[in-house]
Amino acid sequence: MAKAKPTKTYQEMAQELATYIGWFESDSVNLDEAIAKYEQAMKLLEEMENYLKTAQNKITKIKAKFE
């Protein structure tokens, strides 16, 4: 049985992750903020790993006839 579809698509999560990478690549070095962002990014990475492990494809046959 397929698991419930996650609220975010993988692509959306990947885009979110890219913003974290961008933040860490910038010059800002507020350590408190960096730690908070790191923790958020790690949580996101875990969600993405989970998606890769559990997401399943769903195939629906179109009822329309093409004759």
Binding site: K53, T60, K61
Partner: protein, 370 residues
Amino acid sequence: MDGVILTPSDFVALLNQTLEIAYPLVIIEGELSNFRVSKNRWLYFDLQDEASSVKFFGTVFSLPGPLEDGMVVQVVGAPRLHPRFGFSVNVQSVMPRGEGSIKKAADLLRAKLEKEGLFALERKRPLPAIPQAIGLITAANSAAYKDFTKIMDERWGGIEVYLADVYVQGAQAPQQIVNAIEYLNRQPGLADLLVLTRGGGSAEDLAAFNDERVVRAVAASRIPTLVAIGHEVDLSLAELAADVRASTPTNAAQLAVPSRSEASTELKAVSSVLHNALERGVETESRKVGEGREYLTSQVFSLFDSLKTELSGTRKLIHIFDPRAALKRGYAIISKGGRHISSARDLKKGERLGIQLADGTIGATVTGRE
């Protein structure tokens, strides 16, 4: 019917009725001759063999592409007697037959569509990096369907697949494929990628993918297209018109969706990049703290040094004002009754004085004023 007299119209109607019951559709294969198109719409040709020739009539919409006399074609049509022009077969579909004719037809169509720019590289669009929903056009019971979905499931998850089950060979295949492409394009937001695929087969089996209607429908699709027909060596015109061509159904799945394992490796790499970035942040902060400590220490030492210098100056000054230093230079302190004398007027003749020198005090008597 013996003795029944018919009008020409009655005869035509009667014959057509009979034909409709006896031969609603016939399939005739033969060599094409007298092929011509009138007003870009009407189609006339004959099919012949050594002994016979049969007339055909139809519209260009039933053609798989440009044809030439001499080609062998298979025609599906309904035999009819026209009230004025006589007997002909009304064409429903035409398919080139035999490797030579199929290749010739494909070459003619390729040249025509190439001229129109249908295969131009500028027309190619990128496929979505990760499709949300795929419109899959193939035969549901085919090996191509099994191969594609098996590899897709192995590689990625979370994709909605809408399967358009169509014939992928035979006379009905081109129109069904065209209808499926158009249907999927008419459903807004249903699919963000179209995959048209079938496995290997003979040139005749794959003919639908060299059909002008199919090739044009692929080229006209608003949804990006990925087409994989036959084996690696087979190259159909539908593939040339597609945004991306894959060599086999398996290869189509590989190109359509990313791989979980590659994505997982990427996630690990990102995790390590973020970890390093955080470590660098911590290092920068602790270096700053270290630098601050060094600065403070050096400030304290520099203050200490300047105090020391100041102290030594004061000490020198004190030394200068030390009366004992003056005694060493030969000066003396004169006292009378324990009090220092600084004026000769305070002394009278015969008074006893103490004279303090650097190394001791001696007694003296005032003998007079000079």
